[in-house]
């Protein structure tokens, strides 16, 4: 069970309080009607599914009920950092 730091609560809490919410930084297009079917499908379905550092979203469902972003290594499952919605994505340290 992962230990996850909620950037709103500023606390590390166990994974069962949280709900995974998919890849992060996939913004909904502002004008969907202007998109081609291909671009719309890209938004809906295409995911980086990165092996390694992965930007993703979590919901502190049984806590503050806030969505937040995280940078986590999908090979070690270790969190690099978590940050609030709207904050710039942290750069991946090479």
């Amino acid at each position: 069970m992962l230990l996850i730091r909620c950037p709103y609560c500023q606390e590390e809490r166990p994974e069962i309080e949280f709900s995974y919410a998919g890849e992060a930084h996939i913004a909904r297009p502002l004008n969907p009607d202007d998109l081609s079917d291909e671009s719309w499908a890209e938004y809906l379905f295409i995911r980086s599914n990165r092996r390694g550092l992965h930007y993703e979203r979590w919901l502190h469902a049984h806590g503050c009920a806030q969505f937040f972003n995280a940078l986590r290594d999908t090979v070690s499952d270790k969190f690099e950092t978590t940050y609030k919605i709207g904050e710039a994505r942290p750069q991946v340290k090479k």
Binding site: M1, L3, R28, N31, D33, W40, A41, L44, F67, I85
Partner: protein, 986 residues
Amino acid sequence: MTINRKETHGRINRDKPIKFSFDGKIYSAFDGDSLASALLANGIHLVARSFKYHRPRGFLSAGSEEPNALVTFDRGQGRVTSNVRATTLEIFDGLVAYSQNNWPSLKFDIGAINDFFYMLFPAGFYNKTFMWPKSFWDKVYEPAIRKMAGLGPAPIDEDADKYASLYSHCETLIVGSGPAGIAAALSACEKPGRVILIDEQNEFGGSLLSTPNLTINAIPAWQWLKNSLAILKGRQNVTLLARTTVIGYYHDNFLGAVERITDHEKDINQNKARECLHRIRAGEVILATGAIERPLVFPNNDRPGVMLASAARSYLNRYGVVVGEKIALFTCHDSGYEVIFDLADAGISIACIMDVRDQVSDNIIAATKTRGLEIRTSTIVTNTSGKFRISSLHASRINDEKITSTEEIICDCLLMCGGWTPSVHLFSHSKGSLKWQENLGAYIPDTPNENTISIGACNGTFGLTDIMTEADSGQSKYTVDDMDFGSGIIAATFPTKSDPAKIKAFVDYQNDVTEKDINLAVREGLKSIEHVKRYTTTGMATDQGKTSNLNALQITAHAVAKPVQQVGLTTFRPPFTPTTFGALLGGKDGDTFHVTRKTPIDGWADDNGAIFEPVALWRRARYFPREGEDMLAAVNRECRATRESLGIFDASTLGKIEVVGPDAAEFMNRMYTNPWMMLKSGSCRYGLMLGEDGYIMDDGVIGRMAEDRFHVTTTTGGAPRVFRMMEDYRQTEWPELDVWLTSTTEQWAVIALNGPNARKLLEPFVEGIDLNPESFPHMAVREGRICGVETRLFRVSFSGELGFEINVPAHYGRALWEVLFKAGQQYDITPYGTETMHVLRAEKGFIIVGQDTDGTVSPMDAGMSWAIGKKKKDFVGKRSLNRSDIVAKGRKQLVGLLTDDPNIVLEEGAQIVADPNQPIPMDMIGHVTSSYWSATLNRSIALAMIKDGRALTDSDIYIPMADQTHKVRVSTPIFYDPMGERLNVL
């Protein structure tokens, strides 16, 4: 019974003699014995049969690594446990155990015929045969193979015990309470943090329990242990957990541990949990899990009486049990001598000492000579004899890997010492990396992946002095009187004069994997250690290879002629030892498996004979049968009563979300297909919600309570996902919207009144709302009071009749229901359940999301284009509605169905074809989504999704069932009151 006991040895309580039974025979023992030590004290070595060859087996070890001595532990009905290791089973007065995997008896086991025909059962034999004739596989071979499965008996009765679980947190978790673990705990308890010390055994002390002759700081080991435990017990910040096995080491220093609470207690206490799962989150984990002695692999190394040297030491020193009268030792490591010295010092006759090595240290030679013993160097065991217990062995001298001479030696016990394997199981679970330690012939921890420290033997540190120093972070505050632990060589394969094909030198005892099986696997090209494991099943028995993995690895490396570290290592997999399912449930069974959500009115329904159905986590009243009624009769009555006069329905399970804020309408506009900006306060609208993929996700009636406030309802099962989706968009896509969401599902009880007399019943109880149709039209919502209680009163109808949904604070729900029910007697008020609700709505052609739609239905498919705000620029899912396959022809559309024979009620899920005479596979054009007998219409009705179905209206289609084909006419999905006039009743 004292014949095999040493009065001078052991920690057993000789003041408490007890009786126990094994295979129906009564034996004596003492409190403090394990079943293994008790049986050995009675001279019993034969206790089990192996899995494949049904070979007679005894005790290999004295601990949880035991592969052989598995028994069935029987505490009475519902308390029978299979495959229990006799070496870890604490004995109590009256304990009953049986041997297993034998028939008709342990001594005369028919299955042992497999041992005779072993040549036909090499590793992977089943891949190579049982293929012809093909039909024999299903009928003959496979049933026969399946019948042979298993070790212990399958359960017959439900478990009579209960289990518990809890969460624990600590700064320091120490696993293992040998000298390293105790020393670490003594250090850790001086710091402010919480300390948990765990040991799988009933007593703390680990290896110290078997080495009373050592001294620590000039104090005898057992006294030091006692003193140390007294200190630890006196500390507020220390929790000691004995009989507790850490089963797995998971992410971020989360560990699971199972405590065995009652299995060792004589009397059964119904109120006590049998086991408890501890879910532990630790700041730092100190692993002090020790090491496991390795057997040696030589022909017939599996006879009862052949055991690990360390086991004999434990049986002697801990239990006061002598494992034989003439004991031989076969070793390649100095540590084997410590055991022989303890045995010799206790006056036990030593048959011979065989050391693979050509040289042994002077200290050992001197210590051996002092005891009048001699060492045969360069000597190996090349065979053993004895049917149910070893009676002799062949000692062969080797020179340059060749046998030069062989001598038969009489013995009744043979001890093996093949060196030590650090217990890195938990370290590996945590994804710490391992490194090969050549001098140990084993893997030891390299880089930890968590905040983990490995100390003592599990870290490859042997010898008490070094262990204590390491455990004490190098402070060396301990002085230890300890024989040098010494060293050894790794000897996994030995020369033989026999035909290797005929030798059975066991590597994995329980699964009967021999050296030649491993060699066969390699010969056949299965060279990866994982292939060897899977092909031979080595390491896959209930001991998970604790004593066999390293031997298998060495033999494989030898066979492929590569260094061990290039062959790799199989993955260590949780749990460390087999773990009761019940303990892992942590009490989540029966009523507590999943909570049952009940409405405030559920109790009334229960009192009034409702039949319930599960809907998501809720239970809902399905119908209210009267005496002698089946479901159909009850539903017909409920439907008629509602249409003719008045029905009352508990709609409290509907999901409810309060959407509030200056931008509430804009938010609703984006979330739902419908337009919301112009909806007036006090009005309701049916809302349709899509996923971004354009498919119908949820629906419900939504009331605008004020300019900035909406009362949203959702489907019963959909409420959590709708709320989450709304929150997701609110927080992450449209943070600029000033809007707030609150789940109010459980705040409101909802009573639906439907039927021509609904208003008449309601009127006298309502204050502050004019129910007159002109001022309170259909699809309006008002706030006021009912019976003096605040209410949100919706005029809506899911039945087609005049209808009201009365929302009151949940705790008034039942009281209001009872008032209305009592007053409604004048109208013959009839309570109805979900089934009648379904029929009434189907007569009106209203869909149920999840029944008539299935996650692949667009609003156009469902005939609900009217619910889409045509002028809206965007809403969730809108873009997907223009995708090529969504607007293509041939999509399934919602229609009504009327059977040719009005008495036939179609089966829900039945498939529809245009041509019933086509061959299979048929071209299916749709399926029945809802189907009922309509008491109102006195005929059956159905809803269906059919490809281009609306264009088929008034034409015939067919429904081929297994026994007959139904002819059906496609119709509009609205069967009753198409103009909606019944809503206008006064």
